[in-house]
């Protein structure tokens, strides 16, 4: 479906190792949007729109992985979720369960919510998914390539003012909200938000600066 010759899980781990990918608006002229892909899958004989399925998986899998990281806070659980959601999405699209392609995001959101509940209950796992869906439905990986190395990120952090460095580290080491970080550093939550926003801007500028060394 999503990968013709899939190394099924290897690139999932890779997805969690990326550091930074500059954001660019992709060109869209002549290319189908998500809804059009969903419609094409729904209108074809099951399994006969493999190109559309592969493209939809390529787009959705990284988004679902982020949803998983946000709600499960665990790389492996997010990878499990990504597998499960992509399998169910394609299966349901093939079965014509989505009538309006424009509602694809809402449709996937529903599957994500349900799958998170299942995973939290210790429900479906990769092995069960493969047993249930078989080799044919091995989903695509959300592979992203690391563009910046550890030394660069570290070098840029070392250049930040101490206050920004502390707030960023204590925020993102375990993804802590502003009030919790502020309570530990004698700062108000509002002050933490200002410092972390400024710090992130500085860090991003440094890490993404081309032709310079951190």
């Amino acid at each position: 479906m999503c990968n013709e010759t899939p190394p099924r899980y290897t690139s999932l781990a890779k997805a969690g190792r990326c550091y930074l990918r500059p954001v660019q608006n992709p060109p869209t002229e002549g290319l189908e949007d998500d809804a059009a892909l969903a419609r094409r899958i729904a209108q074809a004989q099951p399994g006969r729109a493999r190109g559309a399925e592969a493209e939809l998986c390529r787009r959705l899998a990284p988004r679902v992985r982020l949803y998983g990281l946000k709600h499960l806070r665990d790389e492996h659980a997010a990878a499990d979720l990504m597998q499960q959601v992509m399998l169910m999405t394609i299966e349901k699209l093939r079965a014509g369960a989505l009538r309006d392609g424009e509602k694809l995001a809402s449709f996937v959101f529903g599957i994500c919510r349900m799958s998170v509940l299942e995973l939290r209950r210790g429900g479906l796992r990769r092995e069960q998914l493969l047993e249930r869906y078989g080799e044919d439905l091995a989903p695509a990986a959300a592979a992203t390539e690391p563009l910046f190395d550890l030394e660069r990120v570290a070098g840029c952090l070392e250049k930040l003012p101490q206050r920004e460095r502390s707030v960023l580290l204590m925020t993102f080491y375990e993804d802590k909200p502003a009030d919790e970080v502020g309570a530990q550093l004698g700062l108000s939550a509002g002050n933490v938000r200002v410092i972390r926003h400024r710090g992130l801007t500085h860090l991003r500028e440094c890490v993404t600066a081309e032709g310079t060394t951190a």
């Binding site: 969690g16 990326c18 550091y19 930074l20 990918r21 500059p22 954001v23 992709p26 060109p27 869209t28 290319l31 787009r59 959705l60 990284p62 988004r63 679902v64 982020l66 949803y67 990281l69 946000k70 694809l104 995001a105 809402s106 996937v108 959101f109 994500c112 992203t144 910046f148 550890l150 030394e151 990120v153 570290a154 952090l157 070392e158 003012p161 101490q162 206050r163 460095r165 502390s166 707030v167 580290l169 204590m170 925020t171 993102f172 080491y173 993804d175 802590k176 909200p177 502003a178 530990q184 550093l185 004698g186 700062l187 938000r193 972390r196 926003h197 992130l200 860090l203 991003r204 890490v207």
Partner: protein, 188 residues
């Protein structure tokens, strides 16, 4: 390819979303937007990747950073080997770094009540003083917690380091603590 976003999520909102600072209904709206938007999901992916880079930089001991007592305790609970040195105000300590250490933390005890801004000055033999301006601290705890750059620490020969804490008020600086670290390089 996904279309450019007509209503991109503001970065502050994206941060609040990721860090769990949003109300449930707002969070659900952002969830759905992210799942349907290649542009905003790529921006969130960038943020998450950057956060991962910060975590890895710290885990590899590549940062000198002021942290909190609670943060150090969590590191220890996570199984990291944390070596800690508490130094009384105007006191000294014999210290080192061992091969198995993941983190070395210095706790500088100081009377911080009423202090608005704090500068930390590090003196190493033969080098110009390093001034860390406006370091964060919790006045109630009466200590500044410094997590060392492990790569730099491991490279040090045996030497004496001095840390000074200054309370800064306008143009005036007042020394509130002087700390001596008698560092012994680890011998394999």
């Amino acid at each position: 390819m996904s279309a450019p976003c007509q209503h991109p999520i503001d970065e502050r909102a994206l941060l609040a979303y990721w860090l769990g600072e949003m109300a449930e209904a707002d969070e659900a709206r952002v969830d759905e937007h992210i799942l349907g938007c290649g542009h905003c999901s790529a921006r969130l992916g960038e943020l998450v990747a950057l956060a991962g880079g910060m975590r890895d930089a710290f885990r590899h001991g590549a940062l000198q950073v002021i942290v909190s007592d609670a943060f150090v305790k969590r590191l220890a609970r996570q199984g990291l080997q944390v070596r800690e040195y508490s130094v009384a105000r105007n006191g000294s300590v014999n210290c080192t770094v061992a091969p198995g250490d993941d983190v070395v933390v210095s706790r500088l005890e100081a009377p911080l009540g009423g202090v608005a801004r704090l500068d930390l000055v590090v003196h190493a033999p033969g080098l110009p003083a390093e001034v860390l301006q406006d370091v964060p601290f919790d006045p109630a705890r009466g200590e500044v917690v410094v997590s060392s750059n492990m790569a730099q620490l491991r490279a040090l020969p045996s030497l004496r380091l001095r840390f000074e804490l200054f309370a800064v008020e306008g143009h005036d600086k007042r020394l509130i603590g002087d700390y001596t670290f008698n560092h012994t390089a680890h011998r394999a």
